[in-house]
Every structure is written in structure tokens, then in C-alpha cells.
């Protein structure tokens, strides 16, 4: 339940006042970071990751979503595998015409084949999704992680900078970007989404690190003389990375549809790039006359987003069962009607508000 918006100072500035979180009875120090009470068999200790992987391989949701994503990646690299048409070839005489043999999805306003464009659009849209997510996760994860670990003014500074970024309207940022950068590649859009997306990931990473820092085994490791770097790398990062990965997979979906919104406002990808976002925004006002123009690219976008969110969901579930739960012990102690303190996995808690 601890979430990225958990009161920062309350937890971080534990040194400045009475301990904020009432953690239940101490758990035994022998417990390895990975071996959760509810999850893996206790026979031989396994890492968090192998536990999770063990679960995932048997999860049909994971397998299905992984299959879809694999397919999409293949299409993004080699669109000609399943589409032999030309996404640019336009024949105005066919404008907005419905399906016909060889053109199963019909034509768009310019008389281009919708099927070919949907297939070719995968590349730009998925590139934007994956690269923007990777960028935001890396930047946000690092900044948020350091903020959570070191606390103090560094933490405050970061949180307030994140506040500033949250306050900036998307289209203002988008228009500025579009006017400054004239490249017609996907990179300005990727850069822009990273710039918008990192604060969200930073908050989550920060929350995760703060929670992990409270864990007994970390406290113990520090008491035994482990240095900052070692503590961060060996003990905190493995636990804090999980929520970041989970939120990132969900964010990936929203980033792909953010690209569509940017195109709608005239600030997204530019031709000759073919992308779902460009086609969706072009189709959005022709719903009455040519619903097929909207249906197919929007459907492709939905399936992609769905696949990535399902993947994130499955990963989260796997990690949730595999992760240590210092909370369970204390939950018994807390009276009914009082929430249990933090579980180690804050991922499902509050994602940041979506950008509209």
C-alpha cells in the first residue's frame, strides 16, 4: 500500500522526529531478501527474480501478452512480412472507401490502404513507447532512487522539481518542442515524453527505495558496516527495481496513446513518418463517414497497450507473491479496522494521474 505519493518527509525524515512507521515485531534477520513468507517454497532460497520467473512461466496472461509483444516487435522491424503494399501510395479516387479484396481495412481520406498503414505504423508507435519508457525509467529511476536513499535537501529538491514538471500543460511543452526541433524523426517526441514522464517514475522509485530502506535486513546490513554503494546496489536496488519495471510497463501503454494525443494537437510525429497516432488523429473527426479509418489503428493501439499492461500486471503479481512482506507479521498485531503497514511492493499503489 505505500505508494509513490506517500508523505515523503514522514518517512524520510524519520531521523528528525519520532519514528513515523510503527513496524511490528522484528522479523528474524536470517531471512533472505528474496524469500517471501507467502511465496516460494522455503526449501532452498531463491532470488526474487527467479521466484518471479518461476511464477511467470506458468501464467497464461504473461505468455499471451509476451506473444503479442513479440509479434508486434517483429512487425515493427519487418513490416513487409505481412504487408506487401506501400503505405504512402495514395489514390484520391478511393478516398475513405470501404474494404475490398486485397484491401481488407479499406482506405483513408487520402486514398491510402489502411491495412498497410496500420502495419507500417507499428514501428514508430512502438519505438516511441519503448524508447520513451526506457528513457523515463532510467532517468526517473536514478533520480528518484538517489532522492529516496539520501533523503534530506536532495530529496526535497527533486520532489519540488517534479512538482514543477507536473504543472506544465502537455500542449505547451509539445508546441515548444515542435517549434524548436524541426526533425521529422521520432526522437523529439521520445525526448518530450521522457521529459514529461520521469517525475512519475522518480516518485515511484523514491517511494520504493524509502520503503526498502526501512526493511530490517537493510538496517541490519548497515549496522554491520555496509557502505552506501554496497547497501544501495546489493540490498535496495533489487527490491526497488521491481515497482519501477511494473509501472513502466503500464506507462508504456499510456505513452503510446500520448503520442496520438500530441498528433491530435498538431505537436506529435510528422510525416513522412507513419504512426498510429497520426492516423488516429486524422480519423477522429471522420467517425461518421469512415469509422474503419479509426477502428483499425485505434484497435492496434489498444491491443498493444493491452499487451504491455497485461505484461506489467503479470510481472507485478509475480513479484508481489515473491517479495518479502514484513507487513504480514505486524498485521496480526494491528487491530481490525487499522490498515496494515507497508508491504514491500508499492507498485500497484497510486500511479500518477494520466496526462490528458
Amino acid at each position: 500500500m505505500p505508494d509513490p505519493y506517500a508523505p515523503k518527509e514522514a518517512i524520510t525524515h524519520g531521523d528528525g522526529g519520532p519514528a513515523a512507521l510503527a513496524i511490528g515485531e522484528a522479523e528474524s534477520l536470517e531471512r533472505a531478501p528474496g524469500a517471501g513468507p507467502g511465496g516460494a517454497p522455503t526449501g532452498k532460497p531463491r532470488s526474487l527474480w527467479s521466484d518471479a520467473w518461476h511464477d511467470l512461466r506458468r501464467n497464461p496472461v504473461f505468455l499471451l501478452s509476451a506473444l503479442i509483444i513479440l509479434f508486434l516487435l517483429v512487425i515493427a522491424v519487418w513490416p513487409q512480412l505481412i504487408a506487401d503494399g506501400n503505405p504512402y501510395r495514395a489514390d484520391l479516387a478511393k478516398a475513405q472507401a470501404g474494404p475490398e479484396p486485397g484491401h481488407p481495412f479499406g482506405y483513408d481520406t487520402q486514398g491510402r490502404d489502411v491495412y498497410t498503414r496500420v502495419v507500417y505504423g507499428a514501428r514508430a508507435s512502438i519505438t516511441v513507447g519503448i524508447c520513451a519508457t526506457a528513457g523515463a525509467a532510467l532517468l526517473g529511476g536514478l533520480l528518484g532512487g538517489f532522492a529516496g536513499f539520501f533523503g534530506g535537501w536532495w530529496d526535497t529538491l527533486l520532489s519540488r522539481i517534479a512538482d514543477i514538471f507536473f504543472g506544465i500543460p502537455v500542449i505547451l511543452g509539445g508546441l515548444v518542442f515542435l517549434s524548436v526541433v524541426t526533425s521529422s524523426t521520432v526522437w523529439p517526441v521520445v525526448g518530450f515524453i521522457v521529459l514529461l514522464g520521469w517525475p512519475q517514475i522518480a516518485r515511484i522509485a523514491r517511494g520504493a527505495v524509502v520503503t526498502a530502506k526501512q526493511n530490517d535486513y537493510v538496517q541490519a546490513a548497515r549496522a554491520l558496516g555496509a557502505g552506501n554503494a554496497r547497501t544501495l546496489l546489493r540490498h535496495i536496488a533489487p527490491n526497488a527495481v521491481a515497482p519501477v519495471i511494473v509501472v513502466a510497463t503500464i506507462a508504456l501503454g499510456t505513452y503510446i496513446s500520448l503520442e496520438a494525443t500530441l498528433s491530435f494537437l498538431g505537436a506529435g510525429l510528422k510525416p513522412p513518418t507513419v504512426s498510429w497516432g497520426i492516423d488516429i488523429s486524422a480519423a477522429s473527426t471522420s467517425i461518421r463517414n469512415a469509422p474503419h479509418m479509426l477502428l483499425w489503428p485505434a484497435g492496434a493501439l489498444s491491443i498493444t497497450v493491452l499487451a504491455f499492461i497485461m505484461l506489467g500486471d503479470a510481472v507485478r503479481d509475480a513479484l508481489a507473491t515473491a517479495s518479502p512482506k514484513p507487513s504480514t507479521a505486524s498485521a496480526t498485531a494491528s487491530p481490525p479496522g487499522r490498515p496494515s503497514p507497508s508491504s514491500a511492493n508499492p507498485a500497484p499503489a497510486s500511479p500518477s494521474p494520466p496526462r490528458r
Partner: protein, 542 residues
């Protein structure tokens, strides 16, 4: 199954929300509820509604309702006809004497006199009042003194304007301009009441004029309510009780509101809805010529577009554009393929001549490919067409032009559209000469004269010569045309000048834009004038 029951309950909760949404609508009927009032779509005017400061259609709509000037352009023919002017006389095309008709007043009771005009024009020309239409007064003697290139003005009034009596004033121009009286229907030349100067802030909040309507209330950015002025002395009295101008940001929404019966009149139908207008509106759809021409302007300051043989390149690009298909499929016949650089609303008497552009404006893909090759090919093998992405749904037709060029040149990526985020940015790039390829240009006439379609855009260093085109031959012919006293001679000189354009192709004429609109079954007698503004005063309400 309890679970299933609960799920059902959940679905119901959602439908209750939706049903509540449904209950919210359909009760009141917006502005159209009041008897005799017409609700019409509007865009938020950019500038305060001062006549000499209003240079776009939205503000122009209001001024057309609340002001009458010396002349007015006939809503059907576009001919300049006397309204407040009794006669405008000259012997040398330079010195004019204006005599006013008696009996005209502003809606606050103040008389419209020669001073109402002279003061208003002086106000409009004075640089410190930063009126955007100030250049319209540039032909009047003394303009440089009140409107210097830089520094403070030397005086506050135009030396060329003299009040002779309450109903008579004289105008001295700084050059011969035979068709000058016909420019006086433009909004910049409207008279102003004294309260405009004495209570300026109040006036801007609620303008007072002398037209068939008076402003009842004005909520900026939202709605302006205009009501019939019963004391209006002119012949063109309002035939309805009033007009409510509703601000819409998205013309799609305005059209949807018209369909739903919440709005009476839309004068800008989005291109994507044009396919449905006949089904939705039947004969309540208007599509008629207006004085607007769309062109692609070349940056003549760029050597790559203005080198040796480049006119072949420009001509070739023009011939690669399938105007007929684009106007049919994208614009649904709300545009007509252009064959010259003016507009059919001028009429053949006014100087419009079909086909001056000749073969260059015909779709000949094979010849186009040859010409582009002869002209040295596209610079770097690529070209972009720049447009602003924020308003006007230009993307569809720019993409269609590029596709047409690409098909003709047999190269998928030869031409791409280059959207610019905001109109301001687009204009800045044009005025700072940063364009690297052709860009879209639309010209809406200020007054229905052939001069207005040629001189401001192609005369060397003219105010709207965005491509920086310059040809002494063209300039000479325009000068001769303006000095000619005979109307016929003026027009034939302008047409000769236009033929120079046909050789040089500094811009590609694309199509003549129609005004289009639609209206509800509550109202009748709806028409657009040649400026594609609805003729509000003639609308009747059932």
C-alpha cells in the same frame, strides 16, 4: 450467484450515471429560445473591436452588424454602393470631396457628421494608437508624419483630411488612385462616435456604432448578444430580433451543435463533415463563391527556388497538382480549381479572367515530371509544404497535394507536409524569411477590386509580398493601372500585370475558396456576402 448480482448492480450504477447525464440535457434551448433571436457560431476576436484594429473575419462579423460607412459592398454583387456618402467627387484621381447624406445617427443618438469620419481616420492612422489597419490610410497625404517608420509621430492628424462642413470633408491623396473610393467600404473607414475617445474602455467593453444592430451584452471569450436597433435610419433594417454570437473553439463542435438543434447558423463547416451536409441539412446548406484564393507561395529569396530555369521547376510542381480531384474529394466542391490569381467574385467586369494561368494550372503529370527535371529537379530531391497546424484543418489538403506531386514524380517521399505548431510561429518564419520551400497562403480580399488581389502580394516590397517576389515589369504595369482614370483601362493593365505572374509563377494558384455554411430550420433567407460573412440583417426567424 451473489457475485453476478453485484456485478449487475455495478453496471446499473454506471448506467445511472449515464442516465443522469441524459437527464441533464434537452431542457433549455440556449440563445435560440428567445423569440426572433438567431444564434450563430463565432470565434473569439483576437483584437479589441475597434474598426481600424479589426483585420480578421470574426471581429469583422460584428463590425458588419454594428457599423455602416460611406460605402458598403453589395452582399450579392460585391459592388461598392454609397450608404452614408451622398457623393464622392474628384477631377484628378487625387483630390476627393466627400458629401454625406443627412439623417444618420449612432445608436446613442449622436449625429454622424464629417467629423465622425475624419476623427476616426486620424485615430486609426496615428502610430501610438497601434491600430493594425493603419496601413489602409497610407495613401492619404501626411501619413508618414503620423505613422513614421520609427520614432515619435510629428503630428497627430493627417494633413490630407479637412472638415469643410458637418456634411462635407475633403481628402488629398499622396498619389493618384482612381479606385480609392471603392476601398471605403472596408471596416477601417467606419465613423466613430465621440464616446469612443472619451470613454474608450467602456466603448471596447460594449461597442457603440451606427449599424442595424446594437450590442446588448458582451462576455469576452464566450458570447456577444446583439439586438435589433429599432431607430436605425438606413434602408437595410434587421429582419430579426437579434443575433447571439456563440464562441466555439472547434468548428466540429459548432457543426455538431447545429445538428443537435442548439445553434441556428454555422458559417464554417469543417472539411471532414462536408460529406454529410446534404444528408444533415438538405437545402439548408450554403456553398457560394467568396473573395478568397489559396496559393502556394515560393520563397523567392531562396536561390534554390529562384535560380536559372527555376520558373520551370515551379511550373512543373504546379502541373503535378491534381486540383480537380482534391477539390472534389477533400473539399467536396467547396473550392473551385484556380485558373488565375484573382477571384470569380470580381466578375469579368471587375477583372476576373478565366485561364490567365494557362497550361500551368492544369494537371499534366507527365509534363510536370519533365519540367521539374528541366528546372534542375527538386532542391536536394525533396520539398516540404509548410502550414500552420493549429487552425483551419490544412493537413488534409496539404497531404493530398504532396501525394499528388509524389505520384507525378514517382517518388513516395519527394514532398511532405511540414506543420508549424502555431499560426504566430508560422507567420514569424515567413516574415523572417526562414522558409525553405513553398508554404500555404490564403488571401481574403479587403475590397472587391482586382488591385487588392495583385498589388499587396506581388508588388516589390508590398506589405503582404511574403515570397519577396520582385519584377520591375509587374511594378510598372501596376503603377500605370492605378494612374489610369478609365476603369476599363485600369483593369486591362492589371490583367497585363497578372500575365507577368503567369510567366514567373512566384506563387501557384490552387483554388478559389467558397464561403460555406449551414443553418437550422428555424431561420430562412440566409446568405453569405462575398467576404463569406453571413448577411445577418436579412435573416428571418419562423
Amino acid at each position: 450467484m451473489r457475485g453476478a448480482e453485484r456485478a449487475k448492480w455495478g453496471v446499473c450504477a454506471v448506467s445511472v450515471v449515464l442516465a443522469a447525464t441524459a437527464c441533464g440535457g434537452g431542457v433549455d434551448t440556449r440563445g435560440s429560445g428567445a423569440a426572433g433571436i438567431v444564434s450563430s457560431s463565432w470565434g473569439d476576436p483576437q483584437n479589441p473591436l475597434e474598426p481600424a484594429n479589426t483585420n480578421e473575419v470574426q471581429g469583422g462579423k460584428v463590425l458588419e452588424m454594428i457599423f455602416r460607412g460611406l460605402k458598403r459592398y453589395n452582399p450579392r454583387t460585391g459592388a461598392a454602393e454609397n450608404v452614408i456618402a451622398d457623393r464622392i467627387e474628384t477631377t484628378d484621381s487625387r483630390h476627393y470631396t466627400v458629401t454625406l447624406k443627412p439623417g444618420w445617427t449612432f445608436s446613442n443618438g449622436e449625429k454622424v457628421t464629417a467629423k465622425s469620419f475624419v476623427d476616426a481616420w486620424n485615430y486609426g492612422a496615428l502610430i501610438t494608437n497601434r491600430q493594425k489597419n493603419a496601413p489602409f490610410f497610407q495613401y492619404i497625404e501626411g501619413f508618414d508624419a503620423v505613422h513614421p517608420e520609427n520614432g515619435r509621430p510629428k503630428t497627430k492628424t493627417l494633413s490630407g483630411l479637412k472638415v469643410a462642413s458637418p456634411t462635407k470633408f475633403t481628402v488629398a491623396l499622396n498619389q493618384k488612385f482612381s479606385s480609392w473610393p471603392d476601398t471605403l467600404g472596408y471596416t477601417a473607414f467606419m465613423p466613430l462616435p465621440q464616446t469612443f475617445y472619451s470613454h474608450h474602455d467602456a466603448w471596447v467593453k460594449k461597442p457603440v456604432g451606427n449599424g442595424p444592430y446594437a450590442v446588448e451584452s458582451y462576455t469576452k471569450g464566450s458570447v456577444m448578444k446583439l439586438r435589433k436597433w429599432s431607430g436605425y435610419p438606413g434602408p437595410d433594417k434587421a429582419r430579426n430580433g437579434g443575433i447571439d454570437l456563440q464562441v466555439y473553439t472547434d468548428n466540429n463542435t459548432a457543426y455538431t451543435d447545429l445538428q443537435a438543434g442548439n445553434l441556428d447558423l454555422v458559417d464554417d463547416i469543417p472539411a471532414t463533415q462536408l460529406k454529410n451536409v446534404h444528408a444533415d441539412l438538405g437545402d439548408r446548406y450554403i456553398n457560394q463563391p467568396a473573395g478568397v484564393i489559396q496559393t502556394l507561395t515560393f520563397p523567392m529569396y531562396d536561390k534554390r527556388w529562384n535560380g536559372k530555369n527555376s520558373e520551370k521547376l515551379r511550373r512543373g510542381i504546379s502541373m503535378a497538382i491534381d486540383r480537380a480531384s482534391i477539390t472534389k474529394e477533400i473539399f467536396r466542391n467547396t473550392r473551385t480549381p484556380a485558373t488565375d490569381w484573382t477571384s470569380p467574385v470580381l466578375g469579368t467586369k471587375g477583372g476576373f479572367q478565366d485561364g490567365i494561368c494557362g497550361e500551368a494550372c492544369e494537371f499534366r503529370p507527365d509534363r510536370a515530371k519533365e519540367l521539374v527535371k528541366e528546372g534542375g529537379g527538386l532542391p536536394g530531391g525533396r520539398m516540404t509544404i509548410a502550414y500552420n497546424a493549429d487552425t483551419g484543418s490544412h493537413k488534409d489538403w496539404i497531404d493530398a497535394i504532396c501525394n499528388s506531386i509524389n505520384n507525378a514524380l514517382d517518388n513516395d517521399k519527394a514532398c511532405v507536409g511540414a506543420p508549424v505548431g502555431t499560426f504566430a510561429d508560422f507567420r514569424n518564419r515567413i516574415s523572417s524569411e526562414k522558409m525553405t520551400g513553398p508554404f500555404r497562403a490564403g488571401w481574403q480580399m479587403d475590397y472587391p477590386l482586382i488591385q487588392n488581389f495583385l498589388q499587396p502580394m506581388y508588388y516589390s516590397k508590398a506589405s503582404s509580398n511574403d515570397g519577396k517576389y520582385s519584377n520591375p515589369k509587374f511594378d510598372k504595369l501596376v503603377n500605370e493601372a492605378n494612374a489610369a482614370t478609365d476603369r476599363k483601362e485600369t483593369i486591362s493593365k492589371f490583367q497585363d500585370a497578372e500575365r507577368v505572374l503567369a510567366t514567373d509563377m512566384p506563387t501557384i494558384p490552387l483554388w478559389y475558396q467558397n464561403g460555406n455554411g449551414g443553418y437550422s430550420d428555424r431561420i430562412a433567407h440566409v446568405a453569405l456576402n462575398p467576404f463569406s460573412v453571413p448577411v445577418y440583417n436579412e435573416i428571418t426567424v419562423h
